[in-house]
Amino acid sequence: MSQPTLDKGTFMEKRTWSRFSKFERTARFLFYFVTVAAIVVSLQTIEIIPEFLIDAPEQIGDMLNRMWPPDVSYYPSTIHEAMLETIHIATLGTLLAIIMAIPIGVMVAENVTQNKALNWFARLLLVSSRSINSLVWALLFVAILGPGPLAGAFAIAFRSIGFIGKLFGEALEESAPGPIEALRTTGAPWFSIMTMGYWPQVVPTFWSIVLFRWDINLRESAVLGLVGAGGIGVALNTALELFYWDRVSMVLLSMLVVVAVVEVLVTQIRKRII
């Protein structure tokens, strides 16, 4: 009955369990500290006039009061046309973005383009497209092309390249290597590998990315008019500057309806293609 003796020295050594290492704990503490400090400093230094803050509920109430009831007659006279223009801006912008984003997406995918320099170049293009807000793109294109919906469409397009290109590139990188290899062994040229090997694998993802961006673009193109790039924003700006609050609320209401309709539409299309 001799049991194997346990060497107590190595087994029962006093160990305490802790979830994080010392480094992690310090880093977390530092992080909390910096967060709290940033909030406190921001609250203390930001220029907020207390009278404005106290006055805010009353002012908002006054604004809502002026907004009601919405001026329905503004819809046929101005909003309808401006809204169509907004939809055109968003759609044209998305289409232009697709045309430019596909080659960049192909370039950024490391399994398709096996060239580090090209990958980095494409990534740089995508990051700069995403880092600049669509309003800033709109300012740039208004300066270049003159005010109007075309500047808005280009702004939307250049802002969307980063989004579509990045997600498209990621979808390409995730595609299965099997079919590609099979095609390659048959000696298929590069273009056939792209259209027969990669494209069928990513096409549902691709259209769902595009739909998602189109949805975002509709909301974004609504504000471009503030800097003169056409669309419903122009109607909104005019109403705001003339203090026609009932027209403002009518514009906001129509935007709400369009956004809701588009949301339903996008969900339906997405169900079909995926």
């Binding site: 930001i46 270049i144 909301r219 935007m255």
Partner: protein, 265 residues
């Protein structure tokens, strides 16, 4: 002799045409041409545009950092707006998110909370900022309030969805001990969603930072006002300096975000 084995017959691969897809592509192409003509796009105009674009970029170079004091002041205000709006937005979206979770709350409560969330999400932050500028006057307060609204719309929605995905067993276990409602939330629900919640916060901070550089365009404080003023005075070299500063700050924030995600994985 008479067997006609299927292997022997020569087969030809016929690629089936997806007529719906072909039709959709044709419609999209036709639409593209229609809108391009509607917007009066022609080659001449594009060539002029490209020329002007080159001219424009020429005037932006080199970036002019001479008025760095103005730049830093605006940038700090943008960062302050983003931090305060994220903090307040997170604090407010916690209760809203709970109320919108369909597995914890009665239906009528979730409907009210969901309507609030949809209301917060449906307008672009800049439009909300315009309304707040008219309501509370020019300055950082309007921008902060606008971004708080945007944060509630985003975080509360994702938070509610995260809560709906939790396992109910742990809640049942906590309830079985006779714990009151708030203890159920604190010990049954929160530990399950905290990790994802931090991810949402970091994403929203990033998004608020981007937007806080923009709300200034409508007078709601931050670097956007400086940018817009520079544009209107045709100080394109200062514009490029501001743009570079914005991109640098956003990239720096993205770096911090990555570190934070590693810490809380």
């Amino acid at each position: 002799m008479t067997t006609n084995s299927p292997i022997a017959t020569p087969r030809k691969y016929v690629r089936k045409r997806n007529w719906l897809a072909t039709f959709s592509y044709l419609v999209l192409a036709a639409y593209l041409i229609y809108v391009l003509s509607l917007f009066d796009v022609n080659l001449e105009r594009l060539i002029i545009g490209i020329g002007r674009g080159g001219d424009f970029i020429g005037r932006m170079m080199p970036p002019n950092f001479e008025r760095y004091a103005l730049l830093i002041e605006g940038m700090l205000e943008s960062i302050q707006i983003a931090i305060i709006a994220t903090t307040a937005g997170v604090l407010l979206s916690l209760p809203v998110g709970f109320l919108a979770a369909r597995n914890l709350m009665p239906t009528w409560v979730t409907w009210i909370a969901r309507a609030l969330i949809v209301g917060c999400r449906s307008f672009h932050p800049v439009i909300v900022a315009i309304l707040f500028v008219k309501a509370v006057g020019f300055g950082a307060l309007a921008g902060t309030l606008a971004l708080i609204v945007a944060s509630i719309g985003f975080i509360a929605k994702l938070f509610a969805e995260a809560i709906e995905e939790i396992s109910l067993k742990q809640i049942e276990a906590v309830r079985a001990t006779g714990a009151p409602f708030f203890s159920v939330i604190a010990f049954g629900v929160l530990p399950q969603v905290m990790g994802r919640f931090i991810g949402f916060i970091s994403y929203q901070l990033d998004s608020n930072l981007r937007n806080s550089t923009m709300v200034g365009l409508v007078g709601a404080g931050g670097i956007g006002g400086t940018l817009f003023a520079a544009f209107q005075r045709f100080d394109y070299d200062f514009v490029s300096a501001i743009l570079i500063a914005i991109i640098a700050v956003i990239m720096f924030a993205e770096g911090i975000n990555n570190v934070m995600r590693k810490l809380y994985r």
